[in-house]
């Protein structure tokens, strides 16, 4: 941005939010210029922190008038490089807009502003609505509730209810052109219980990575908080066994959450819990008598009897289906949700970096994809780090290979990046679609999806953001 233009914009922004919440200092710009992934860094020109809807509206209006890119930001931990400003502009840090506007105990939803975090909503519900719970992401507590839903995150109720965008029951959106629109029941009533029976306009914003508008309020579903919980763990000796166990549990429809990880990932992650570095390279291999995979089903019940019956049913289903496969367990332990938010520690302790090709895809090609993805890790001498979460009662699966790495080791960074490129080729071939899609994968998907698909995306983007100021360069990017 030309310096004279920048000075004028900064002056205007300071009038809107106050000078203490506008920065062009190099330290701030540097911090927002990259994230924990291997995504290429790119500096913003200005950082702004609005607190109210009025301030936000004025900032967007100014940006649209001056045609300056605006990149919404809450915690920056999306593992997709989604808040790195591809074309400079204004980082719109929304952490000050952090009100939990409403919790409806009867209709079981919460209306939140963009800056509300998982930690915040957990603490709030525990204190004021202990009979209700929201879901929790496999991420630190500072993760934004709204952004997690916006980027279709996977959480600890995903087996029951699918990805986090499915739990959105209402939106308030600010368009680049200044209109403030409510979507769902809240458009015509005081309650935010559902998007239906309106046309599902939430699809114009959910999954779009902030390229079509700024969501200023979101209603998310809450659920009763069951009194009893347990994690049931199975450890198969090979991936075929893992697939069979997952399939067996899926058909019971019992768990709240069903996840599986490479045993080697757990092995590497152990030192992290005693504050040691957890390096993936060179690869840590499992020993011959160690399992290949760890599968955990989170099960809850209203009573202890109900819980025990569910646990028994899951165990019986696995035994009935998996006779031909060797596995250890099942083993039961207290619910892992108790460990929130440090459950992610094992993948945050390798040296400041975390990358993955994260995907959603069909169970029908799960085994093939996992096998090939793990073999690619072997090829690069990186520890096997597959992580899968079964979504929406098995209608699809979340699948990724988590790659924590040392950002201070350029050779390792290169190795991780090359592995991810090969894994992307693999998943695209087996029908697994990258989520929280990094821009380099967006371009590949655009090619795969074809010109009419891309044309539609561009039309939507152009209609909602005619000056292309909203997080430009990502979904729906105009032809250059």
């Amino acid at each position: 941005m030309i310096e004279a233009v920048k000075s004028k914009i900064v002056e205007e922004l300071e009038k809107i939010v106050g000078s203490e919440f506008v920065s062009t200092n190099r330290a701030d710009l540097y911090i927002y210029s990259y994230d924990l992934t291997t995504a290429e860094s790119n500096w913003p020109d200005i950082v702004v922190l609005p607190q109210s809807q009025e301030e936000l509206r004025a900032v967007i209006s100014l940006a649209n008038k001056e045609k300056i890119p605006v990149i919404p930001y809450v915690a920056g931990g999306n593992v997709g490089g989604l808040t790195i400003p591809l074309k400079g502009g204004i980082i719109l840090d929304l952490k000050r807009m952090n009100r939990i506007v409403e919790v409806s105990e009867t209709d079981m939803y919460a209306v939140v502003e963009p800056g509300v975090t998982f930690g915040q909503i957990k603490a709030y519900l525990n204190k004021h609505h202990p009979t209700l719970r929201y879901t929790y992401a496999f991420s630190p507590a500072s993760t934004g509730v709204m952004t997690n839903a916006l980027v279709q995150g996977l959480d600890n109720l995903s087996f029951r209810y699918g990805d986090a965008s499915h739990w959105v029951s209402g939106l308030e959106v600010l368009l680049a052109t200044g209109e403030l629109i409510k979507i769902g029941s809240c458009a015509a009533s005081k309650t935010w219980q559902a998007i239906a029976p309106f046309p599902e306009l939430d699809g114009l914003f959910l999954g779009w990575q902030g390229t079509t508008g700024i969501i200023t309020k979101m209603a998310v579903s809450l659920w009763p908080n069951p009194q009893h919980g347990m994690a049931v763990t199975f450890m198969p000796m090979d991936l075929e066994g893992a697939y069979e166990i997952l399939e067996a549990i899926i058909r019971t429809r019992i768990p709240d959450d069903l996840i599986g990880t490479s045993f080697a990932l757990n092995k590497v992650g152990v030192p992290a819990y005693s504050h040691h570095k957890a390096p993936l390279y060179p690869a840590t291999k499992r020993l011959p008598d160690e399992p290949e995979f760890v599968i955990t089903a989170e099960i809850t019940g209203n009573t202890e009897n109900e819980l025990n019956a569910k646990v028994e049913a899951v165990g019986e289903a696995v035994k009935a289906r998996c006779r031909g496969f060797k596995f250890t367990g099942p083993d039961t332990q207290p619910s892992t949700t108790a460990a929130f938010p440090m459950q992610a520690l094992g993948v945050l302790s390798s040296g400041g970096g975390l990358n993955w090709v994260g995907t959603y895809g069909p169970m029908s090609r799960w085994l093939e994809t996992v096998k090939k993805g793990c073999e690619l890790q072997d090829k690069y001498d990186i520890t096997r780090t597959c992580y899968t979460r079964i979504m929406n009662e098995g209608h699809f699966a979340g699948l990724r290979w988590m790659l924590p790495y040392d950002k201070g080791d350029p050779a390792l960074v290169k190795r991780i990046h090359a592995l991810c490129e090969e894994q992307l080729d693999l998943v695209l071939e087996t029908g697994y679609i990258p989520y929280k899609t990094p821009v380099w994968a967006v371009r590949r998907l655009e090619e795969l999806a074809g010109p009419d698909w891309l044309k539609l995306h561009r039309k939507v983007k152009e209609m909602l953001d005619p000056n292309n100021v909203m997080n430009p360069g990502r979904w729906g990017m105009p032809r250059e």
Binding site: N25, A141, P341, G352
Partner: protein, 391 residues
């Protein structure tokens, strides 16, 4: 420490944000981050600044970058919450950035008075050295420099030069005398501990004071040094070992000593002190000491005073919110210091307590100033002042 020696830790931070809140309570922990909200003020932002400085992307000549580096109270709350392997080195990295700035000649003007005063008068307040023992003038306390004593009471800069706080060392001495302790002070021969010099990046000054302190008390042959200053106490316990001179005496904080005297039945409280109080854990008496954090002795002392009703704040012990005064912030950035203190006072009032009790003069001073600035209706005391009322 200098930045070059800390390269191992520079890439530890993923910017995950866990350092921003108390684990599983999710209340804020970082004063500078909470006040300013820009990522550069949070610990993770400062780790990235260090990375940028080492990689030559950022420059400590930039006043605004240095302002961010110095906007840290050194409370170590981030280190308490962070689970990653570099967690015990976060403030060390910030301190190394400060040292780097000083080494480069990029000095913070707000600290020049402190540094000049240290060189000239051995204290951080620009006060004449001759006034150091004024607080004890009429108390008839032994001069530990002139006659043999068993225990030396180290007053510290804040309690020596702030008349509004003189009741703290006077109460401490009265308590020790009531317990029959053979105690003396160094009077105007006492020097600064050097802890603040260390925290703002003046390693040379720190080393000078550490060596002087250890050698002085070794030569006097005291068995114990006791202090009411938590900053000084953690400097003696955690920083002095770095100068590699064996200490031939042990060091206790006053609250530990009172607690010990009570439990040894040498100190008895007879009068009722009907007060509803909450206790603020000073960072330097808690997190700065790691596993040796002094959390229970002050509570045990308060519970042993008849009439005291002790209420706990939500953030207590190792999760306590900082008072805001530490690591040179009260000198260079009083707005941040007082805002931080007032956040704590609001939390204290929410317990129903009418008084906040602490055991560090830097905390006490800052809380008193915050009451004046913001008007929160609460009284501020050192634990020795409360204990003396019960004698």
């Amino acid at each position: 420490m200098v930045l070059d020696e800390l390269k191992e830790w520079l890439y530890g931070c993923t910017h995950c944000g866990t350092c921003k809140e108390v684990l599983n309570i999710f209340s804020p922990v970082c004063p500078a981050g909470e006040k300013y909200q820009l990522e550069s003020y949070f610990p993770s932002g400062k780790m990235l600044i260090a990375r940028g400085v080492v990689n030559g992307v950022l420059d400590l000549e930039d006043d605004d970058i240095r302002e961010r580096i110095y906007a840290c109270t050194g409370c170590l709350s981030c280190e308490q919450q962070c689970g990653v392997y570099h967690h015990q080195h976060i403030f060390e990295i910030i301190q190394a950035l400060r040292t780097e700035a000083v080494t480069q000649g990029n000095l913070n003007p707000a600290y020049m008075i402190m540094v000049d005063s240290l060189k000239k008068d051995d204290n951080v307040f620009g006060k004449p050295k001759a006034e150091r023992g004024d607080w004890a003038r009429d108390m008839g306390i032994k001069d530990a420099g002139q006659e043999k004593v068993d225990v030396a009471y180290h007053t510290g800069c804040m309690l020596s030069f702030d008349p509004e706080l003189w009741e703290v060392p006077r109460s401490a001495i009265n308590l020790l005398k009531a317990a029959g302790v053979d105690v003396g002070i160094m009077g105007l021969e006492e020097s600064c501990c050097g802890g603040h010099a260390y925290e703002i990046g003046y390693l040379g000054e720190f080393t000078k004071y550490a060596e002087h302190f250890i050698e002085t008390f070794n030569s006097l042959g005291v068995s114990r040094v006791v202090t009411s200053c938590s900053d000084g106490y953690s400097t003696f316990k955690k920083l002095y070992p770095r100068v590699n001179i064996p200490m031939k005496f042990d060091v206790l904080h006053m609250v530990e000593y009172i607690d010990q005297l009570i439990k040894d039945k040498k100190l008895k409280f007879t009068k009722k002190v009907p007060m509803k109080v909450t206790y603020h854990d000073p960072c330097h008496l808690g997190r700065h000491l790691g596993d040796d954090g002094v959390y229970e002795p002050p509570r045990d002392v308060l519970k042993s005073i008849p009439g005291i009703d002790l209420m706990e704040m939500e953030r207590n012990r190792e999760n306590a919110w900082c008072c805001g005064a530490g690591a040179g912030v009260s000198q260079a950035n009083p707005d941040l210091a007082l805002w931080t203190a007032n956040e704590r006072l609001k939390e204290a009032r929410a317990t129903g307590a009418t008084a906040l009790v602490t055991s560090c003069p830097w905390c006490e001073r800052n809380f008193k100033d915050a009451v004046k600035e913001y008007g929160e209706d609460i009284e501020i005391y050192d634990i020795a002042e409360i204990a003396q009322k019960a004698l």
